[in-house]
Amino acid sequence: MEPQATIARPPTSGEILRDRLFRGTALGFAWFVILLVVLIVWQIGFTAAPTVQEHGAKLLFSDKWDGKDNFGILPEIVGTLYSSILGVAIGAFFGITVAIFLTQDFLPPTLEVFIKNVVELLAAIPSVVYGLWGIFVLIPAIHPACDWLHDHLGWVPFFNTRLSSLGLLPAALVLAIMVMPTITAISRDSIASVPPKLREASFGLGATLWETILAVVLPTASRGIWGSIILAFGRALGETMALAMLAGSASEIHWSVFAPANTLAALLASKFPEASRPELGALMYAALVLLAITLLVNVIGALITQRALVKGVR
């Protein structure tokens, strides 16, 4: 019976040491993740600090950018919000519709999974490829429709300029394509988690399918859907390439969706390669503003989804 006695033994001191080391390293790396977030905020804030001290909050409300003394980023802030709201509104319309289509037994399950995977693939394509596609495919494709809207509904503020080539609308459309998978995935999950008995009760009362969807299913899943929209909004605010390539980099404020515009992220991407000292400081200032806006939106989104989980029906 000797072998059995040697199989079970207390860990050697070497093994205990290695255990301590390994646990310590894991804890260290976990802390590193926290440290990284602090470091990112600190680094961007620290580099932007001289410009913040020099100009204060004045740059937020000025629309002049000449690359020497004036670095107003108001048009970029407005453009960031405008393009994101437009893009997310379009993306949410399509995303939620697809989510409904995939959960209300319109299709056989295999086809549902297929469409779900196809929509997820939309998220896999790099944004720079969407930008290229937008320039050479999307803009020529939507040009006639945009001209028609301007010619016939030109008195509406949203259509009061002509689409030259680049502009806010093509950028927002590409943004919509890019945020749609996020909205679809989360909305689909939260619609699918609505208890079947609620739907069945509604059918039992004689409601039609769409009365059930609009009055029972969507309100029950609404928190998850709102969470997905805010998450998508956070993504849209920071999206860079599609907007740098399609929005037209114009520091102007227009109501028209056909006018060229600019966003904070696109400003950073397009101005950085040739930026000199004072302009670089202003770009860091813009980066800090972008960081603040996205952090704020993400925190609000996290709060909403957390409450959705707590109050969610089970």
């Binding site: 199989i7 079970a8 033994r9 093994e15 290695r18 255990d19 390994f22 894991a26 804890l27 976990a30 926290i34 990284l36 977030v37 990112i40 680094q43 961007i44 620290f46 580099t47 399509f94 519709t97 697809v98 289509f101 995939l102 319109f106 469409i115 995977n117 693939l121 939309l122 896999a124 394509i125 790099p126 944004s127 720079v128 490829v129 290229l132 596609w133 320039i135 050479f136 495919v137 749609m180 039609t208 998450l231 956070g234 993504r235 920071g238 860079t240 390439m241 740098a244 390539m245 992220a265 950073l268 860091m284 980066a287 972008l290 996205t294 952090l295 939106v297 993400n298 989104g301 996290a302």
Partner: protein
């Protein structure tokens, strides 16, 4: 016609039979059917962009898909021919550096979150930090690498690009690895502890090998996302028209090349941009589909 006939036979105030019928004549059912139809149309429309992107990539990019594309340098203005050789090498080097940084940190942080201290306050803060990182705009990861590395070394470089991409890969790796580690059955862990293994031995010999396919999936998805990132590379790696000679110099990448050539007035450069996009998308899709295949097999073995 028949609706009129029925309402003549039965007075409407007694029992409203047509109301109980499912007929397209009623506004309610008509509305419902109409909405169902529209939902289908909208869903179909939503899939059109993907089809359009893939088809046009195949047509426009396929034209230039030959050996020279992978071995030649990008063409200057008005030049003919050329390829994306240096950008391909640059992308691989930068993504490799990013993987080297983010994978060990991500997996060990996930081990802590899932095994060593899942209920601790540190774990809660780490999860929050991961969420913040996953919502960080990619260009700000580039700005971070610029301020932390480029300003110190004085030049745009591949390691700076790698650090920027590592910041973006980290949350994906932490979240997927944590999930994969949590899916390892408790009885396996308890068996390891039961025969006297230390926590470290349990993690290294039982948990990580079992969770490996799940972790690999996350790493592949993170690499796929990082390979297509452009914005951070503008700030961290820049571009270089020739073959990069060493690491600490501006390094070309496929994503930057597409961005740069997309605004070019020359047909040749635009064709190269399409071909480069095709190569990039094929790489990204292979990584994505590959990760799904691994995941599906993994789920089968777990059952």
């Amino acid at each position: 016609m028949s609706a009129v006939g029925i309402s003549e036979q039965v007075p409407a105030q007694e029992i409203d039979l047509p109301q109980l019928e499912k007929s397209l004549r009623h506004p309610r059912t008509l509305f419902s059917s109409f909405m169902s139809l529209m939902t289908g149309v909208v869903t179909f429309t939503a899939v059109v962009p993907l089809a359009s992107v893939l088809i046009l990539l195949a047509i426009n990019g396929g034209k230039r898909l030959d050996l020279a594309l992978f071995t030649d340098l990008p063409p200057a203005a008005k030049m003919i021919g050329g390829g994306i050789g240096n950008a391909l090498v640059g992308t691989i080097v930068i993504v490799f550096i990013a993987t080297l940084i983010s994978v060990p940190i991500g997996i060990l942080a996930a081990v802590f979150l899932a095994e060593l201290g899942p209920e601790t306050r540190t774990a809660a803060i780490v999860r929050g930090a991961t969420k913040v990182l996953s919502g960080l705009p990619s260009i700000l990861a580039g700005v971070f690498a610029f301020t932390a590395v480029v300003l110190l070394t004085g030049t745009l470089s591949a390691p700076a690009g790698g650090i920027a991409l590592a910041v973006l890969m980290l949350p994906t790796i932490v979240l997927t690895s944590e999930e994969a580690i949590r899916m390892v059955p408790h009885r396996m862990k308890e068996a390891a502890i039961g025969i006297g293994a230390t926590r470290t031995q349990m993690v290294c010999y039982v948990v990580l090998p079992t969770a490996f396919p799940g972790i690999l999936t996350g790493v592949m998805l993170a690499i796929a996302r990082a390979a297509g990132e452009t914005a951070p590379l503008i700030f961290a790696a820049g571009f270089w028209d020739y073959w990069p000679r060493h690491l600490i110099q501006p390094t070309p990448s496929m994503a930057y090349l597409i961005y740069d050539f997309s605004g070019s007035p020359y047909k040749n450069q635009i064709e190269i941009a399409w071909a480069c996009s095709l190569v990039l998308v094929v790489m990204v899709l292979i990584l994505n589909l590959g990760s799904q295949v691994i995941l599906r097999r993994y789920f089968k073995t777990m059952k």
